[in-house]
Assembly symmetry: C2
Homo-oligomer: 345 residues x 2
Amino acid sequence: MPDPAPISVPDLHQRVVSVFSRCGLNAQSANAVAHVIVAGERDNCKSHGLYRIEGCLRVLAAGKVMPDAVPELHDAGKAVIEVDAHGGFAPAAFETGVDRLAERAKEIGLAALVIRNCLHFSALWHDVEALAEKGLASLSMCPSYAFVAPAGGSTPLLGTNPLAFGWPRSGTNPYVFDFATSVAARGEIELHRRSGTPIPEGWAVDRDGTPTTDPDAALAGAMLPFGAHKGSAISTMIELLAGAMLGEFMSLEALEFTGGNGLLPHHGALVLALDPATFSARSGRDPVAEGEKLLTAIAGQGARLPSQRRFKARDAAMKNGIQLTSAEMDQLDRFEKDGLAALSE
Amino acid sequence: MPDPAPISVPDLHQRVVSVFSRCGLNAQSANAVAHVIVAGERDNCKSHGLYRIEGCLRVLAAGKVMPDAVPELHDAGKAVIEVDAHGGFAPAAFETGVDRLAERAKEIGLAALVIRNCLHFSALWHDVEALAEKGLASLSMCPSYAFVAPAGGSTPLLGTNPLAFGWPRSGTNPYVFDFATSVAARGEIELHRRSGTPIPEGWAVDRDGTPTTDPDAALAGAMLPFGAHKGSAISTMIELLAGAMLGEFMSLEALEFTGGNGLLPHHGALVLALDPATFSARSGRDPVAEGEKLLTAIAGQGARLPSQRRFKARDAAMKNGIQLTSAEMDQLDRFEKDGLAALSE
């Protein structure tokens, strides 16, 4: 079967909104979820693209997410703005808080957005890019499911805990990184298992804490953090700041809560926004221009800045539309027509 | 020559204050510098202990630091508190700002301390521990000298850019990490050079960007960040947040400023303080008790929490005093008697 014609970004957005509306999400949440999923597909970041729809529908079918939740903003006028997702998906909560976060950061230099009580599947780069567009630097982090052992340990306690950072640039895409603090993504180990190939050394340990290259032993054991004890310390920091500090689940409790049945995790998230204009004011320097000196020098010596592949895919998608496969289009059709009933067993 | 009798922490503090007073530092700066140096020695963290005195004296002798600088606090009532070190050593600037930082963080949940225009040599764990004692989580970071190439690059642009994090614990030492974002410390490569042994693979590249195990080629080339592209991205973030964003030097400018002659770097620093009580209030959970669940589980599976060696050395030093060598005592005597004139050529 030939590939279907490319679909434009706005058209794909409408299709995805339609799927989620059909499955019971209110308009706010359907739109917010579609923003994140279509951005992932647009950037050829397939792990956060249309692939995510089925996972979202499964958590809906399992009754583990509130489809009609309306995120609630709490702002006591401090540096911390909170949004209670009331058990809904994270993206609507982020959209509910992001403008207030940016406003507060510009007003007092630095502010935090706390998202509580959400089903999380968003790409963190989506959040930090939104803040970079407003001229702000930002850090975003959250726990996930406890699949990762601390360095020197043998049993999963840490999530793959992503960390993202965004920095505004003038006239070009922002400096953005977003990575798991595990060596590899769990999905990559799954791919090795399916293809029957060993995983590289250093990715995981088996149940006894012994290093393994067997994907089955790795999935039954524990993944490892990137960067040995340093990455392990950063992952622990993410558990503390985006879990314990907020009074929301850390990765172990998130896993226990859903029973490890492959559904999206329920936890909170933390976003810090910093206003370079406020921080640099006394120096008389232009912080964005200063940053460019470093970023152009990095690119100038042939080292790749993070996210460049995504930005390149985005440019192509905005110009030519997004090329989906027939299978992807068929799945969209089925989900749009039959909603949750279209989920395969 | 037999080792001298152990010296108590307060007595060593007085000796170090005396050295710096003899060399022209005002009382505030001499005390603040001594706090950091004696804490390093006490914790058997020798790289930030008495070893640092000579480096501080050299920068004084070179006229690159203001011995009588009085740090100036700027507080516009926002979330960002600034201290201009006026060209003095960093520790007095930190001490000038830390109480206000903690007060602001407790008041509005989150605050930042910017240190400007300082000669930096402080151990960042010293800063985050001071904030953890006040019940606050914190992050501290600064640039250094551009000795590190970005991942995929060949030429030094990044510093060894340390990152420290502190988290308060109840009834025990805080959770603290503090590490360079380079794979190894520059001093470790120096040690290999002196002993004529190769450095491990992955530490450095030569001038052409080719991986090397030759310490001379490494020192002439570039060190590498920890954790490949992830560590490189974090190091870049530190340049942007603690350099460009503040309008202070990034590591390349810091190196150019002193001419790479081995003197302490001149740059700024950024400390973020977060109040777990504010962040968790709406949850009804105790954030420190929640954090303990993770930290005791990590230690319980035999994985070492960071900083435990330091804390153990500290306990011993507080009980038994600090065991210095005769050479270290002699150097203290010489510096105290002759000040800068005691510097060897």
